[in-house]
Amino acid sequence: MAQISFTLNGVKKTVTVDSIETPLLWVLRDDLGLTGTKYGCGVEICGACTVVVNGQPEKSCDKKIGEVAGATIMTIEGLKNDPLGARLQKAWLQYQVPQCGYCQSGMMMAAYGRLKAGESVSSTATGLNNICQCGTFQRVKEAILALPTIA
């Protein structure tokens, strides 16, 4: 048993886990009930589990909870609290991006993380490598490129 503390969507959290090896993904989903972050592949390929840790997009399926002690974490549920995140959500709705929507939390957090880390809109729009089996890629790109026009 171990206690790990971090800041999650602006709120201090302390969780008790059996193992510090537990991936952040499953602590978010099963222990904290924040189910917006999704399990897709478990091996850091698909990106459905992407969250932002200390300002960088990270795949939470293979991020051990022990590694995020003291970290600042944002998940899809906290995206609206940041002006850039709220604009991203507006763009996603304007372009009607999601289909099934399952990968979109990760898609949006990956885009947000890149933009927040200073990457350009055009580089972010073409650089994402998240998998989406519904095929929303064109609208993802359009929504990101439109960000500068969205208040």
């Binding site: 059996d18 499953w26 399990y39 897709g40 592949c41 390929i45 999601p98 099934c100 089996q133 890629f137």
Partner: protein, 718 residues
């Protein structure tokens, strides 16, 4: 023979036969109940399609599963048009299981598949909504005074009278029970919401993490489970450990070992570690589980004049003496569904005095109809009535046909029975890939003769692992030849045959089913003839379209589109599909990368899907169909070596990422729409992609590729 007879959780269904019977069933009366609140609807015992809330919100209750295709919004648009609603007051809910009320009109089965949701519900739902509008006016007359004819509908969920003014729907509901349906139904006749690109009602919850998919269900006191199956597909459990360190329970599920733990990660990890400790009953029919052996067997059936169960599906004229110009065989692989949301189900069981009295399930499912019988197939639950089984249909994180099946539902029920707590079962991604119900392998032999005016004769034989055949029903399989029959083209001498390939590989419906392989063969073959005769591929098809007005319009529109003429002719390929009651033409432009691998750089679709409910959704389905078509044509396949599947994760099942996406444009025609039955769009975007790529490649490299995928063995890092 009947393969795989040991499996009881497979689905016995001939979806195309159901579809064929659909037209007559449109005459079925639609029961309509308008209730003021859910409790009232439940109390009537008949449920409802439309519920008006005290806040004047209007909720469509639908048996169709929202799995990304936008069906919830599309059907709600049909309702909103007739009831003259503000789009903002519209909601949707998945219906409980009740095939009589919520089953597809015509199939009588509550499932989502075959691109049938809009085509089958359009008229019944429009009619139900128009009746509701009439009855709301009648209720207003009873509530406030005046006659029905003096009350008219007003936009925003209101009715209006010269004396009594505007009143909300909610304010007249008290009298709804005292009204009856009109003798004749009259429709709004407007296109205020139908045909408009209104925003989908499910998307706001999909950009803030609040949408609850099946995988996201949380219940008080819940425990978490995962499974491990035999490494050799279809193997079963002989003996397994009864406990494991860190596990709440280890359960022999028959087809797998289930592990229940405090969280999903523990359950997956422990399940994986148990695989080598389980004694498995490995299947003995390994040649039926080996893709190399199956390909050889398929070729042998192609080479046999009269193989077992051969059936002609479409014959005319005397084809055999007019062939000889082209004699080729196309092959397409087994494929996995690879929904982003892995299989999962949550089950809670209530007992009284040790006897199960109620089973509640939360399932991302395309096959609601089959769940009650899945419940009753479990020991101790045989006698449960429908009223003792509640199914909550959850949002699906992709379905593509996989979530019609019942295997994962059955496992979750057994787990809940074993631990006496609510259980959420979540498969790991490797388990999801290695235990799919795969798209069948198919081999298609085409012999043709023709001239510049078209193909005069064709003998087409499909040898494929038949879904129906495996599921134990009639060896006939109309789905297996879909895309090869009912062609828009006039081929005066023709014979289309199907013979099932015996296999024990578990099979299932994969987005666009038969069309996903037959359209590849048929549209490649037509292109081969056009190319051999130096004919323009669109003109050649147009000449063969004996008077099919809609097909002609779609192909002519493609040819005149700047998105088509702007593609480089030497890198361009086209294909055409009449299917799912829609007409789709696709043109693609390809290029080769430094490793000589194909990259699709541009795509243009022209679709006539009849009555368009939401053009934005039609466009989205074409974009998505393109992605499905590209990944399956270029990269992906599942092979089996003595029953062991080749895929374990996305690492060795290459799909697309944003950088693979070409620029795609879509023209939607609504030339002569069939107002009785709009066309389907969910699958229509897929089938033309593979042949269009092959046709473009034939021009670019003067090489015809007849076996998919183009680039097998690629990984996500390639």
């Amino acid at each position: 023979m009947r393969a795989n007879t040991a499996k009881k959780d497979t689905l016995v269904m001939d979806r195309r036969s159901f579809l064929a019977g659909a037209a007559a069933a449109f005459l079925m009366p639609v029961t309509l109940t308008v209730a003021s609140r859910p409790a009232a609807a439940a109390a009537t015992g008949v449920g409802a399609y439309i519920r008006i809330g005290d806040d004047n919100s209007v909720t469509l209750i639908t048996g169709q599963t929202e799995m990304g295709q936008g069906i919830a919004s599309g059907l709600a648009q049909i309702m909103a048009e007739e009831l003259m609603l503000d789009w903002a007051q519209v909601r949707f809910e998945h219906a409980p299981v009740n095939p009589q009320l919520y089953g597809l009109p015509g199939w009588g089965v509550q499932l989502t598949g075959g691109s049938t949701s809009t085509m089958m519900w359009y008229t019944p739902l429009r009619t139900a909504s128009a009746k509701a509008a009439y009855r709301l006016r009648a209720a207003a007359a009873l509530t406030f005074g005046g006659t029905i004819d003096q009350w008219s509908m007003v936009v925003g969920g209101k009715v209006k009278h010269a004396t009594y003014g505007e009143q909300t729907f909610a304010s007249v509901l008290g009298q709804i029970a005292n009204t009856s349906d009109p003798a004749t139904v009259s429709f709004a006749g407007t296109k205020r919401i139908v045909g408009q690109p209104v925003r989908r009602i499910d998307l706001a919850s999909k950009v803030d993490g609040s949408a609850i998919f099946g995988a996201d269900v949380m219940l008080p006191g819940m425990v978490f489970a995962s499974v491990v199956h035999c490494p050799t597909i279809t193997g079963t459990v002989k003996t397994c450990p009864t406990r494991a360190s860190g596990a709440i329970a280890v359960v022999n599920l028959g087809d797998a070992v289930g592990v229940v733990a405090k969280n999903t990660w523990s359950a997956m990890r422990i399940a994986s570690s148990l695989q080598s400790k389980v004694v498995w009953n490995k299947p003995t029919n390994l040649t039926l589980l080996d893709s190399t052996a199956l390909a050889t067997a398929a070729q042998a059936l192609q080479d046999t004049a009269s193989p077992p169960n051969l059936k002609p599906y479409d014959t005319a004229g005397t084809p055999d003496d007019k062939l000889g110009q082209i004699d080729v065989t196309y092959k397409t692989p087994f494929l996995a569904h690879a929904c982003m949301e892995v299989l999962n189900a949550t089950v809670s069981i209530t007992k009284a005095d040790g006897v199960v009295t109620f089973v509640e399930l939360w399932v991302p499912t395309q096959g609601q109809s089959f769940i009650p019988s899945t419940v009753r197939s479990v020991a101790g639950l045989e006698k449960l009535t429908d009223a003792q089984i509640k199914v909550n249909s959850m949002l699906c994180g992709g379905g593509f046909g996989r979530k019609i099946e019942q295997d994962y539902v059955l496992q979750a029920i057994k787990l809940a029975m074993a631990v006496n707590k609510p259980v959420k079962l979540t498969w790991s991604r490797p388990q999801d890939f290695k235990n799919d119900k795969y798209r069948p392998y198919a081999s298609m032999h085409v012999k043709m003769g023709g001239d510049v005016n078209g193909i005069n004769a064709m003998v087409y034989r499909n040898v494929s692992a038949s879904i129906n055949f495996q599921h134990g029903s009639n060896p006939e399989d109309t789905g297996a030849v879909a895309g090869a029959v009912k062609l828009p083209y006039s081929i005066p001498h023709r014979r289309v045959e199907f013979t099932p390939l015996p296999t024990a590989v578990p099979l299932g419906y994969w987005r666009s089913v038969g069309e996903s392989y037959n359209t590849f063969a048929m549209e490649s073959a037509i292109d081969e003839m056009a190319l051999a005769l130096k004919q323009d591929p669109i003109d050649y098809r147009l000449r063969m379209l004996s008077g099919d007005v809609r097909a002609t319009a779609v192909l002519q529109k493609l040819k005149s589109s700047p998105n088509y003429t702007g593609m480089k002719a030497g890198q361009r390929g086209v294909a055409f599909l009449k299917g799912f009651n829609s007409y789709v033409a696709v043109a693609l432009e390809i290029t080769l990368d430094s490793s000589a691998r194909i990259k699709v750089t541009k795509a243009h679709y022209v679709i006539d899907c009849g009555v368009v409910i939401n053009p934005n959704a039609v466009e989205a389905q074409m974009q998505g169909g393109l992605v499905h078509g590209i990944y399956s044509a270029l990269y992906s396949r599942v092979t089996f070596a003595n029953g062991v599947p080749s895929v374990t994760n996305f690492s060795n099942y290459r799909v697309l990422t944003p950088s693979d996406m070409p620029k795609v444009t879509v023209d939607i025609l609504e030339g002569t729409p069939d107002t009785a039955m709009p066309g389907g769009v969910g699958e229509a975007g897929v089938p033309c992609v593979a042949p269009a790529i092959a046709n473009a490649y034939a021009r670019l490299k003067s090489t015809r590729v007849r076996e998919l995928p183009f680039h097998p063995g690629m990984t996500m890092s390639d």
